[in-house]
Amino acid sequence: MSNMLHDSPAPSIGPSGVEPGRRRFLDYLLGTSAAATFGAIIYPIIRFMSPPHVIESTESSVVAAKLNEVPVNSGKIFKFGSKPGILVRTEAGELKAFSAVCTHLDCIVQYQAETKNIWCACHNGHYNLNGKNIGGPPPRPLEEFKVNTRGDEIVVSKA
């Protein structure tokens, strides 16, 4: 259609009796309205698909366990807000707490009494009792938490 318009010596009136300038304007209006309509449909769909941010629990400390629940040379997973943490009592009796989320691919780690390491079963990652990644694929150390005792309760707090 546009070729026909270009070839004709008198381009003021198109084959349908409409001026090309007016036609282009109408095409533009139609195009932008179609795009706007499409956008108005797609945008809420895309926003709907992305999950809302849930307000993270702001608790900065939590009672992880009772003293008698963690014998020497053992570990225990506890709930720190919505994430798991790991509480370890070393052979020397010292209490340590870390995030239990493996820095490699998000698995939950455990204490391995034989190696005295924190170990992730998913891809065989090892951390020492300072949370440092010492073997396997984990790229970063585990986040360390502060540990205090209050009576027979073990209180873990963000450093």
């Binding site: 999950p51 997973i77 691919l105 698995c107 079963a121 891809h123 065989n124 396997g136 790229p139």
Partner: protein, 354 residues
């Protein structure tokens, strides 16, 4: 006479004679590689088994973190033949992925993607990834421990991709962590989004195969090539394969019922000896072997990007290797195929024994 009248009535409205005529004309070349022609049809058959058993499971399955595990437990312990339907669904899924791998590699080595079949290959690669997504999303639905960690790792892998990774992870998980919201989403993907997409691409794929006919590999002499009628000769052979498949599925379901495992617990460590499904094992083993840092980058990021890159390469194979006469390129692609196959096989075995 009445039958003839009915046929005419239908033909006038649906052109069934054109369709049946085309079906009757369809021929399959007979040569020493003909056996590989059966694996596409076998994959399709197993897909149909998945659809049927999947719809049956939907009658009892409940997609929530509180109910999913218990509902699958109910299916396999209380529902009549529930153990059978559930096990057939799991086994058929695995066999389907196996036949799909065979189909993909045989099409690759026999060069069935040469002009004009490039889009048949591309639609097939899309179907391959859809099937992988089916496997990954379906694996979570029983909400057991293994599935929970597999999904954590799998979605975290998606999250590692630069720029789009994080939003994609949140989209897949329905939040920052793997929770009941993830299960609901995966359920939706598994029973609505993926089946709809698969149906469209399956239709395109099968239609293109009919349009172009069966490809004859370049290594086969094309003169005086013997041919077999699709109906009934090839179809009957297909049928024997499908009946065998039903037998194998029933035997596997009866002798090796698919385990349910323990219910997922978001506050329990990953169980020792955890492994993904066999078709992800070669990637899993690679991630396990990669060091924490490679050239200053996180090892797993590099590995994951490499796998993504190879996946993208699959799409462009027919556009790179497009000259049937080019012997050197053919050799190079054969070597690439053999190396890829060997890598997958070796890493899968290493993943199993370690």
């Amino acid at each position: 006479m009445r039958l003839k009248a009915m046929q005419d009535w239908l033909d006038e409205r649906l052109s069934i004679k054109t369709l049946s005529g085309a079906a009757r004309k369809k021929e399959v070349p007979v040569h020493r590689h003909s056996i590989w022609y059966y694996f596409g049809g076998m994959t399709l058959f197993l897909f149909v088994v998945q659809v049927v058993t999947g719809i049956l499971l939907l009658l009892y399955y409940r997609p929530s973190a509180e109910n999913a595990f218990e509902s699958v437990q109910f299916i396999v312990t209380e529902v009549q033949f529930g153990w059978l339907i559930r096990s057939v669904h799991s086994w058929s899924a695995n066999l389907m992925i196996a036949t799909l791998f065979i189909h993909l590699f045989s099409v690759f080595f026999l060069r069935a993607y040469y002009r004009p079949r490039e889009m048949t290959w591309v639609s097939g690669v899309v179907l391959f990834f859809i099937v992988i997504c089916f496997g990954f999303s379906g694996y979570l639905l029983p909400w057991n421990k293994l599935a929970f960690f597999a999904t954590k790792v799998g979605t975290e892998i998606a999250g590692v991709i630069p720029v789009i990774g994080r939003p994609m992870l949140r989209f897949l998980r329905g939040g920052d962590d793997v929770t009941g919201a993830t299960l609901t989403r995966f359920f939706g993907f598994h029973v609505a989004v993926l089946p709809a997409t698969a149906t469209v691409f399956l239709a395109i794929h099968v239609l293109l195969v009919q349009l172009h006919g069966m490809s004859v590999p370049p290594s086969v002499q094309k003169q005086n090539l013997r041919k077999m009628k699709f109906i009934p000769n090839f179809l009957l052979r297909d049928l024997i394969g499908w009946i065998l498949a039903i037998g194998v599925l029933a035997a596997l379901a009866a002798l090796f019922p698919w385990e349910l495992g323990e219910k997922a617990d978001p506050f329990a460590p990953a169980p020792a000896g955890i492994k993904p499904e066999w078709y992800f094992l070669f990637m899993f083993q690679t991630l396990k072997l990669l060091p924490a840092k490679i050239l200053g980058m996180d090892g797993e990021v590099l590995g994951i990007m490499a796998f993504n890159f190879v996946a993208l390469l699959l799409f462009i194979v027919p556009f790179v290797d497009r000259e049937p006469g080019n012997q050197r390129r053919r050799l190079v692609f054969n070597i690439i195929g053999v190396v890829a196959l060997a890598y997958i096989v070796v890493m899968t075995i290493v993943g199993y024994v370690t």
